[in-house]
């Protein structure tokens, strides 16, 4: 997969900032205000296939969240990635009117991370049940889960992870105990 050059799509991506290329993929950073216009024009330029839409939680950074769009131009066999940042509590303009598939992807991002999509026709939870109070894919949500006070739901307690067979370090906080692997800076040898 190769990226687009700025020359070919100068006017289109002028609103976006090119990020460094990695493994043959090009990413573009765009401000969320300019997103709807950019996406609509990209679609008319041939990016008719929205492959994926992912929300990412960069806890501790400002703005906290990032929404990543993977686009494909099937005619020219091109792939690009558009990224936009959004602060906690803020909202990203929806692209569900540009690609219908974004409808469910945006609902999932809202459900899992609590990223709001302004103008979405039906921003309900999709994987968790209606009325669930948390956004489980946020970094501050513990792996074991949090109990919820919903009497009509069968299982609301945190999952019994403590002392599991694969847990080598039984610290009380889930984020201390997990991940079991260590980040790059702690690696030795």
């Amino acid at each position: 997969m190769s990226g687009l050059s700025r020359e070919g799509h100068g006017d289109l991506l002028s609103a976006a900032q090119k990020l460094s290329e990695f493994r043959g993929e090009t990413s573009w950073q765009v401000e969320k205000e300019k997103l709807p216009e950019l996406m609509a024009s990209l679609k008319t330029q041939g990016f008719t296939y929205l492959v994926d839409l992912a929300g990412v939680d960069h806890q501790g950074e400002d703005p906290r969240f990032e929404v990543v769009y993977e686009l494909c131009d099937l005619r020219r066999k091109k792939h690009i990635r558009i990224k936009t940042k959004v602060a906690e509590g803020d909202s990203v303009p929806t692209v569900s009117h540009v690609w219908k598939t974004a409808d469910w992807h945006e609902r999932e991002a809202w459900d899992m991370l609590g990223i709001r999509f302004a103008g979405h026709p039906d921003l309900r939870r999709i994987l968790m049940w209606d009325g669930y109070p948390h956004h489980p894919l946020r970094k501050d949500f513990p792996l074991a889960g949090l109990s919820t006070e919903m009497p009509d739901i069968a299982f609301t307690a945190a999952a019994p992870l403590e002392g599991g067979p694969f847990v080598t370090n039984t610290a009380s906080l889930a984020q201390d105990r997990e991940p079991r692997a260590h980040p790059a800076e702690e690696r030795s040898l």
Binding site: T48, A54, T101, W104, L143, P179, R180, P183, L189
Partner: protein, 408 residues
């Protein structure tokens, strides 16, 4: 909800002078219902027998795979990929490993690539066989299911021979597989594909011109090609509509560009086309497997990067260096660079993609699974209105979705 493009069954609606009469009924199907193939829930608003509004409720099999992935090393997540599309676990293993290898910047040795191609195509045949059998059974043809399961059993025996497990294969590791091909495996695969052509003809004889089957699938659930792509449909569901997008052809991986095979496409985009596309894909998979067996190269079956790739077991047990590496890779995980990649693979259900966001080290910062069944099902809300209730199982069957993958 617009029903203009999909007006099959509209004549059955009880209308007087263009105005609808009668009461609407809300019908709840699922989450546990034989025709929903798992735990899909549909809330249908009916006018007589005709669906006027549909709401698809998913999430009953949500296990938080993406959250789990953020809390373990790259290799530890492989068994979780078995449980995405649990009808084709080998293909999921390969797709995931290829995604992480793209992040690591690995180029697989030829033997590993060809091995994985065989894995993927065997998984495709096995998944399509189940999809086919279940589809026919939804429409009342019980026999087909028994026939396809006989063939699936043979594939499962081969997979057990290769990986040690029938369903939960967990065959790949970052940079290679758990082991090399066992002696006699290729002969077993060749024996299977040699007798499979005839079986495919038999399946075709049973369904292709079966009056009941054709009547219940033709011109039903029609999806125009542009609508299908707009909803992110991939795999046979997209190709049934006439779009020839196949990741193996458009963005080749594992050397798929060096194999000779064709991508079957439908023309009408109805349930029957989706069925015929799957039938033909199995034939093409057989062709690919034959080519792969013929060219199976020798040499290494793992990437040569001892600090990040699990060493061969016999060396771990006899050599100091390998033992240390094994310990490091298992406890700390392969040391991935900082960066992000997207890798999509053509799985039986469609494009299974992984978006990996790495901050370096042995664990992903974010791992997003682009599940084909998730996108495929998103069209139901628009597709179902206008069809009769009795057509709903036929449409669901033709979609061949798996909830383990949809809900993750």
């Amino acid at each position: 909800m617009s029903t203009t493009a999909l007006d099959v069954g509209d004549t059955l609606a009880r209308t007087v002078g263009g105005a609808e009469v009668g009461e609407k009924l809300v019908l709840n199907i699922g989450p546990s219902h034989p025709s929903t193939h798992g735990v899909l829930r549909l809330i249908l608003e009916l006018d007589g027998e005709v669906v006027t509004r549909a709401d698809t409720d998913i999430g009953y099999l949500h296990r938080g795979d993406e959250k789990i992935a953020e809390n373990m090393t790259w290799n530890q997540f492989v068994p979780y990929t078995d449980r995405l599309d649990y009808l084709a676990p080998l293909a999921n293993n390969v797709a995931y490993a290829c995604a992480v290898e793209k992040l690591m910047g690995y180029e697989l040795p030829p033997r590993a690539k060809v091995t994985r191609v065989i894995c993927c195509e065997l998984a495709r045949i096995s998944a399509h066989l189940l999809g086919l059998g279940a589809f026919a059974m939804d429409l009342g043809a019980m026999t087909m299911f028994l026939y396809t399961f006989t063939e699936r059993e043979k594939i499962y025996n081969l997979i057990e021979f290769l990986t040690g497990a029938r369903f939960t294969t967990s065959f790949t590791r970052i940079g290679g597989q758990t082991r090399d091909l066992p002696a006699g495996f290729l002969e077993g695969v060749r024996e299977f594909v040699d007798q499979f052509d005839e079986k495919l003809l038999e399946f075709g004889k049973m369904l292709n011109r079966n009056r009941i089957f054709v009547d219940r699938t033709k011109d039903l659930g029609v999806i125009p090609a542009d609508v299908a792509l707009d909803f992110g449909l991939t795999g046979p569901n997209l190709r049934g509509s006439g779009n020839d997008y196949d990741v193996r052809k458009y963005f080749p991986y594992l050397g798929y560009e060096t194999y000779e095979f064709e991508v079957p496409v439908g023309s009408a985009g109805d349930c029957y086309d989706r069925f015929t596309v799957r039938m033909e894909e199995m034939r093409q998979s057989v062709l690919i497997i034959r080519q792969a067996i013929d060219r199976m190269p020798g040499g290494p079956w793992q990437v040569d990067d001892p600090k990040n790739v699990l060493p061969a077991k016999n060396k771990v047990l006899t050599k100091m260096e390998e033992l240390i590496h094994q310990f490091l890779v298992v406890t700390q995980g392969p040391d991935a660079p900082v960066g992000e990649v997207y890798f999509g693979a053509e799985n039986p259900k469609g494009e299974l993609g992984f978006y990996l966001n790495s901050r370096g080290g042995g664990v992903p910062h974010r791992l997003k699974i682009r599940a084909p069944s998730f996108c495929n099902l998103s069209i139901l809300n628009q597709l179902l209105p206008g069809h009769t209730v009795s057509d709903v199982p036929a449409i669901l069957g033709s979609f061949d979705f798996v909830m383990g993958e949809c809900d993750r």
